[in-house]
Symmetry: none
Subunit: 204 residues, 4 copies
């Protein structure tokens, strides 16, 4: 109602539109080719306003990366009650695939990897908050399945990497190499095959 809150809402609207425009620019063209002027134009603000919100191009990109990975927090946890181990793991795999494709995480990953030589801290951030964090979520799920007796007791951390490696082969890897790689129709089946292979080894 007051002036302050009015301003705040305006400001947050602008910030959001800047972030959206920047995300679009960074994801489609990569860091270098995204021009601050273009981002400002797409966000319907002046470059000066852009710089009021984000002190530099680096900072803007870092904000986008941070935003993307705070949104994935706990996103892979799933309820195991009343579901078979196979079903639980397929749910996890499908959630992961949805994130990577619909959330454009594969494209983001590409840009982050591209900037490793110039911004290694960002890649580290992604590795820790994206890759490792989701590993831990997967390991929790595996541990729960072991506890319930659905999986043989084993080193779940190591096996998680094997499982994840197989799944990434279909979910992430091809998407890194093509500009607009869409989720393939048979993706869920491919993930299922990875899980079946996994269960052949560790299934109780």
């Amino acid at each position: 109602m007051g002036l302050a809150s009015y301003r705040k809402s305006i400001s947050e609207t602008k910030r959001a539109s800047i972030l959206a425009a920047a995300r679009e620019n960074f994801l489609t063209g990569g860091y270098s080719r995204a021009a601050m002027a273009d981002i400002a134009r797409d966000a319907d603000v002046s470059t000066a306003t852009l710089y009021k919100h984000f002190a530099s191009k680096d900072a803007l990109f870092a904000a986008i990366v941070a935003d993307a990975y705070t949104a994935t927090e706990n996103s892979l946890f799933t309820d195991i009650d009343g579901k078979s181990a196979r079903q639980v793991l397929r749910d996890v795999g499908d959630a992961y695939a949805t994130q990577q494709f619909d959330g454009r995480m594969n494209e983001l990953l590409r840009v982050v990897i591209a900037e490793v030589p110039t911004a290694p801290h960002l890649a580290r951030h992604v590795y820790e908050n994206g890759v490792l964090a989701r590993y831990e979520q997967l390991i929790s799920v595996l541990d729960a399945l072991v506890k319930r007796g659905d999986l043989k007791p084993h080193d779940t951390a190591e096996s998680a990497r094997h499982l994840a490696g197989m799944v990434k082969e279909f979910v992430v890897w091809p998407a890194l190499f093509a500009p607009r790689f869409e989720k393939p129709a048979d993706l869920s089946a491919k993930i299922g095959a990875c899980i079946d292979a996994y269960l052949k080894i560790y299934g109780a």
Copy 2:
């Protein structure tokens, strides 16, 4: 003709030194940060000479990528006689790891992925001549092992992707996220564990 061949050898020497300098520049800083002037300086030629050999920066980068992947041709084939299936697959895995680390293929991969939005044809080339070509080599080896009775008959193409996915998790993935990721001391053991998992599923 003596003069002609002398000139030709000079020219090829220059071409090689350009390629070497360009490779170094592209791999360490990425495409955008590699400046044609720097490459010319490092190669001890003028920029004009550089452009005589390669019509554009894009063409130069493409040549580097092509060179890298012609060198990997048939590199994963191995003789299976008198070796256990486990040993054969470890030989293949170790050869792959050596290529990726010592041949700086991980770094090259990073740059190629970075340039997907601007040079998708290069990424396709790498996918076809690098990724898929080596898949076929791996599949040949697996087929031979099936034939010899070391592996159960199965869809070797699909299983090759599972095996490769697990191995990449240790060989490629972490290297994409760190500027100067060195081959870890326990890498061979990690690859061994992937192969053991594979054999648990498909071993005869």
Copy 3:
């Protein structure tokens, strides 16, 4: 009227704090590097308030210069009764040195000189209200000394410039060339030497 005067005093307080902040910014970094936003922040007001008080950056700088030189009015006049000519002139010289150093007039001078191409009227103002005004004060003193018989009758205006030139050589000149030139310990002695030279020429 109580409210009106309260408002007025608030306003004058703000004006004063703006002037102080602006002075600090202009003197330390020069005109170009002083940013209106910084000045507003240092003065604890908004930029809009800043512009309510001073219509432009130019106007603000002009106000600072005007303020500085109204403060020097009559500052060099001194009572000659019961003091030797040498003592009188040393008092004048020391007062001048104090103004230039403690009042940061040397720094202000530097900025005014810097802005001669863009704001010649300011430099003229300083020349007239600063340089010439103090000349007249000095001439008055010299005339009084002539009248008292301490100095030979002569062209006091011309001689004042000679005396001032010698003194500036130690008081102003070096301060223009160093960012934070402090008053040297032997400054008073140097000024004394200038006065002695002057008295050798014009002393009775």
Copy 4:
């Protein structure tokens, strides 16, 4: 005759025209207001060529300052044979005045002083190579006059500063405060008066 010397002469021509254009821009508008693009246009080169010759705006300005003060080397020395002390000192004074006015040294001084907060090293350079170097030339002349018996033995260093202070009062000081201060018609007479004052004290 060769390619190399042809290129060198072209290059030196461009360098000279850049220096001239830059000098004009810096002297008339000051450092901040001189735009590299304007300088390039005035010098009939592209901005890129400008940057090939001078790595930065700072470096360009430094080159101008250095050029100006190497040109003044030994410029105040004069032959004393067969000339009265008064004449010798007037020759020195006139040479100095010529430099300051015709060589636009007063304008340059203004810009250097303006940049003291941001480029104190340049001011130091000017002080040492301009101010102090010419002091030493003046002192040499004074010493020679003492030796010849034209001046009483005395501390020539201190007296040189007094003499220079008086002269600057007419030659430099007013020029700092006005955009296009021309050499006044009576300047030589004013300098003569300073010298006469000086000789009243130290003349033999």
